[in-house]
Symmetry: C2
Subunit: 191 residues, 2 copies
DNA sequence: ATAATTTCTTAACTATAGTCAATGAATTGA
DNA sequence: TCAATTCATTGACTATAGTTAAGAAATTAT
């Protein structure tokens, strides 16, 4: 399992033996059952995750309604908004499937970074890449309408549509389930 | 002017004398006239900015239409999506006012980080904070409708509404200028 | 296996955003 | 300062999303 992490990091840097052992030492693996809530709104978040297997969903509850913010799948990093800070989370993290993750926490991180400065450097680079991707998806979301968003999702993350229920996809796209149903129908008729 | 940067950084860390001189050495200030394009779509981006004075807007052109992604104002960091990478930018950066910025580039950054590792550490922390904020605004955008987005903007960035033209705000909110005009009318009538 | 629950689809209706066109207001440039 | 240009508002009309309600389909639990 840990080799998945090394494979991921090797996209960003040459993984030396030293780095490899640093990772292996400072990393531990955990499994969670489908349905497990990893973080509750109102709680302090003290863990971040690297997803090895499964799917994690972040969502908020507004007027009694769940609104999906993001779906995380294999090889994605899940860092709660306020990871390592003392402010409570405003959203939930839920396993929508059985999940295997590599877990990090601020204390462990700090120690590791002190001992292996190149890991902090790597962390910064990866944080910047993720940030760029986030900005990119935000831009795409803003500049498209619901139908385009769904088509884009079909193109970019087709497997996700098979893995998660449609009403969660709807809220992820910023619309109601009924609308997504109609959009799907519209698309089929257009073909 | 440089003291503004130190003031900003002091929110995240104790600014030691060493850090202060590191910043001062590795930083230079530039001014740009209103209307200046700092980055063109298709170009490689080689600079990032810390905004000391003025406003910078990022936008893309889609079907001949400008769509505003973000407005950056005082004390904000402008890092192009692909800053330091060799892939061309997919969007524009434009000064919507006369602008004073502190400029960074990857080469300078690299040298500075080598010499002052605590600055890289600080960079990572700030990157994470910005990331969290981005995720937060994305979540807010997704979970609200155009009217709520405008009301939220009125609350969060009231000065911005005075500073930039309304059709740019409309595209920033993901709607057409005519719709924003109607939303404003609706809000006034509700009061 | 069957009942209970949840999810998805459809329909009728309402509210709001998009489109196109016209006009008035504000800004910019010579 | 006046003309030209850009920007904001309004109206009429269209398209699409939200709402409510009902029923079908799929999933889950006993």
């Amino acid at each position: 399992m840990k080799s998945e992490i090394l494979k991921y990091l090797s996209k960003y840097t040459k993984v030396t033996n030293e780095l490899e052992s640093a990772i292996i030492k400072s990393t531990f693996i955990e499994s969670f059952k489908k349905g497990t809530i990893l973080l509750n709104a109102g709680d302090i978040s003290n863990e971040c995750y690297f997803l090895l297997k499964g799917c994690i969903r972040s969502y908020i509850i507004e007027n009694g309604e769940e609104k999906t913010i993001e779906f995380y799948t294999e090889e994605q990093v899940v860092t709660p908004f306020n990871y390592g800070k003392s402010t409570p989370s405003n959203y939930y993290l839920e396993c929508t499937e059985n999940v295997i993750v590599s877990v990090g926490n601020p204390k462990l991180e700090k120690e590791t970074f002190l001992q292996y400065p190149q890991l902090e450097s790597l962390s910064r680079v990866i944080a910047e890449v993720i940030m760029a991707k986030n900005q990119d998806s935000f831009a795409k979301f803003k500049t498209s309408n619901p139908e385009e968003r769904y088509l884009n999702m079909l193109k970019e993350r087709p497997e996700l549509i098979q893995r998660v229920p449609q009403h969660q996809i709807a809220s992820y796209l910023g619309i109601k389930p009924e609308s997504l149903s109609r959009i799907r129908k519209r698309i089929i008729n257009k073909k």
